[in-house]
């Protein structure tokens, strides 16, 4: 059986600026794929492409295919895509503080999904909402459903957003940095909730994050994105044990280890280049410790390596 969500060498542009270049990744059924990268690497854009919502930000797919459950999303009508969103693909946004409509009660915002996609009556939709909120361990669900968004904390709002994503009983959830805007203690709870969803409901999850420790905690596979290209992709444990791409290695090096003195994070010097100034050759070469003449000259192809793939001219593991 094919993967639930599959991106085959997808390129995306906004206006004339090419932002994603030949992205290939797949979310298998019942699995969690972690999509990692610094800000500006194109993670959120990948999520929008997978949702078929690029037009909202003025972007479009210039090459490649996005398949959901074997179907080419570009071949669907807009109405068909709309029936996927909310029904089969749930979406959890980055910032729960701004994700809810501030002038609509919480309950109604969750209800609408099951009313629209599952054809439930108002009363049934509300019952389902309350059930979901309770499952997400929201205390006094009935009171919360009548509340306004500004009355809830960030962590609570993110649970509401997750409830909205679940209300249509989806097969896939795309979570775009679901914990970035939250307190550290709440972060762990939200990640745990998302992890449990996959285990308990058989939902698949595309988890976008910049935090490798989250990936290590919950993901089955990981795809590392750098400047609009996939640098490395594969199952989590081998990659963490022996990252082939220097960028992956550097990201893993950023995870604070126990017993490590504070402030000794191995940060990566430099920053992700903007799409206007992508360097020629391997886009990571200006920041790469292993850069050679070949890296400046030509773009490394993405090649199979073990159970995964890597795009690097020098994929040997650094000592």
């Amino acid at each position: 059986m094919s993967a639930l969500l599959e991106l085959q060498s997808v390129s995306v542009s906004i206006g004339k600026v090419a932002l994603l270049d030949g992205i290939g990744l797949a979310v298998e059924r019942g699995q969690i794929l972690g999509l990692v990268g610094e800000s500006g690497s194109g993670k959120s854009l990948t999520a929008m492409a997978a949702m078929g919502l690029l037009s909202l930000i003025g972007g479009r797919v210039t090459a490649g295919v996005v398949r959901f459950d074997g179907q080419d999303m570009a071949a669907m009508t807009e109405v068909q895509r709309r029936k996927l969103r909310g029904r089969r693909i749930g979406f959890v946004t980055q910032n729960p503080m701004t994700a809810l409509d501030p002038v609509q009660r919480i309950g109604e915002q969750v209800d609408i999904v099951s009313r629209l996609h599952l054809g439930l009556s108002r009363a049934d939709a509300r019952a389902r909402t309350l059930h979901l909120l309770t499952q997400l361990r929201i205390p006094e669900a009935a009171t919360v459903a009548e509340a306004w968004p500004h009355q809830l904390s960030g962590g609570m709002k993110q649970r509401i957003v997750i409830a909205m994503a679940l209300a249509g009983d989806p097969d896939l959830i795309i979570a775009d940095e679901p914990t970035t805007a939250l307190d550290v203690t709440v972060q762990a709870q939200i990640i745990q909730i998302l992890g449990n969803l996959v285990r308990d409901r058989g939902v698949s999850l595309l988890l976008i994050t910049h935090d490798m420790s989250v990936v290590a905690q919950v993901c089955d596979r990981v795809a590392v994105l750098y400047a609009g290209r996939v640098a490395e992709e594969g199952p989590v444990s081998p990659i963490f044990a022996a990252p082939a791409h220097p960028y992956t290695a550097a990201l893993i090096g950023c995870i604070p280890q126990e017993g490590m003195a504070k402030g000794s994070l191995a940060g990566i010097p430099g920053a992700v280049p903007s799409a206007m100034t992508f360097p020629a050759g391997c886009r990571f070469h200006p920041r790469c410790p292993r850069a050679s003449a070949a890296c400046c000259a030509s773009q490394p192809p993405i090649l199979p390596r073990g159970e995964g793939r890597v795009a690097c001219h020098h994929p040997e593991v650094a000592a």
């Binding site: 969103r85 909310g86 701004t98 994700a99 409509d101 609408i112 500004h150």
Partner: protein, 308 residues
């Protein structure tokens, strides 16, 4: 909400006092003595003093202000010097005409302006957007008295559909309402369009799309609700503006109303009437801001939360 409302109304008291001082004192800088208009040429100084005493013009300014304010608060707006009738009567005659005209113009600008703004925002950067915004720009740059005259030229003189002037029947209201309303429509359409476009870019709208709602429903049920909040705020602040438009338009169409009364009294240096007209306009402005605040609170739960 009630304690907030009471507090909000109490806050209008100092504003009212400030405005009343300004209105009262400004009028006393106006050159030209109304008494001159009343006296026969060659009247004796005694007759003049007697006349001044009758209208209270011989006391010191603060005393005159105190007397005037306490009278005003009791509903006594004084006696018109030229018309020699209670000012309250003149106002009572004029006010309903102005309220009807201003109210209808406000309604017209809101309904038409919001509709045009929504259509323009939905068809952003397409020809319908350009056409609407072009029309709006032209509409907002025509002096209202000229627009009134042109409407008279087309619809009264050439087509004969509506009367040229006066205030008899609903037909006589159409052109004045259009004249004032078109200026307001331009303002409302522009704000509606900008705030719709701005609201469409907010995070929560992305999530509404991700929930699979139809774009039209998102625009009309969610985005428009947000866009209307600034529209209401600015419209409420600009009530005075619409009434200001009414002043010129009443004169153009020779309609009775506060504007005609104000212009006439200004020309005749009839202080008490001018003061009363300005006071009425000021009260309308203050009520407008109050209404705006209340509407905003009704539309936005965050504002309600901040009120307690």
């Amino acid at each position: 909400m009630l304690p907030w409302l009471i507090k909000r109304i109490l806050m209008l008291v100092p504003v009212f006092l400030a405005v009343s001082v300004v209105i009262f004192s400004i009028l006393h800088f106006i050159p030209g003595d109304p008494i001159d208009n009343l006296l026969k040429i060659g009247s004796s100084p005694e007759a003049r003093a007697e006349m001044e005493a009758r209208y209270g013009l011989d006391r010191s300014l603060p005393v005159q202000y105190g007397i005037w304010l306490s009278n005003v608060l009791q509903g006594d707006l004084g006696t018109a010097i030229v018309a020699r009738r209670p000012v309250a009567d003149l106002i009572a005659q004029a006010l309903p005409h102005s309220l009807r005209l201003g109210g209808l113009a406000l309604l017209f600008s809101t309904v038409v302006g919001v509709t045009l703004g929504v259509v323009a925002a939905l068809s952003r950067d397409r020809w319908s957007d350009r056409a609407i915004m072009g029309g709006v720009l032209v509409g907002s740059t025509m002096p209202s008295f000229w627009l009134g005259l042109i409407l008279i030229l087309v619809f009264s003189v050439s087509l004969g559909w509506f009367p040229v002037s006066g205030a008899r029947g609903w037909q006589s209201l159409v052109l004045p309402v259009l004249t004032i309303g078109l200026g307001g429509t331009a303002l409302v359409a522009r704000i509606t369009r900008v705030s719709m476009i701005e609201a469409s870019g907010r995070d929560f709208v992305t999530l509404l799309h991700a929930k699979g709602l139809s774009p039209l429903r998102i625009q009309l049920r969610h985005v428009l609700r947000h866009a209307l909040i600034p529209v209401v705020t600015i419209l409420a602040l600009r009530i005075g503006w619409i009434l200001g438009g009414a002043v010129t338009v009443e004169v153009v169409f020779a309609r009775p109303g506060l504007g005609t009364l104000l212009i006439k009294s200004l020309a005749q240096h009839d202080y008490p009437v001018v003061q009363a007209c300005l006071l009425m306009l000021a009260m309308a402005v203050m009520l407008g801001t109050l209404m705006g605040d209340i509407l905003q609170a009704l539309m936005d739960p965050r504002v309600r939360a901040a009120m307690t």
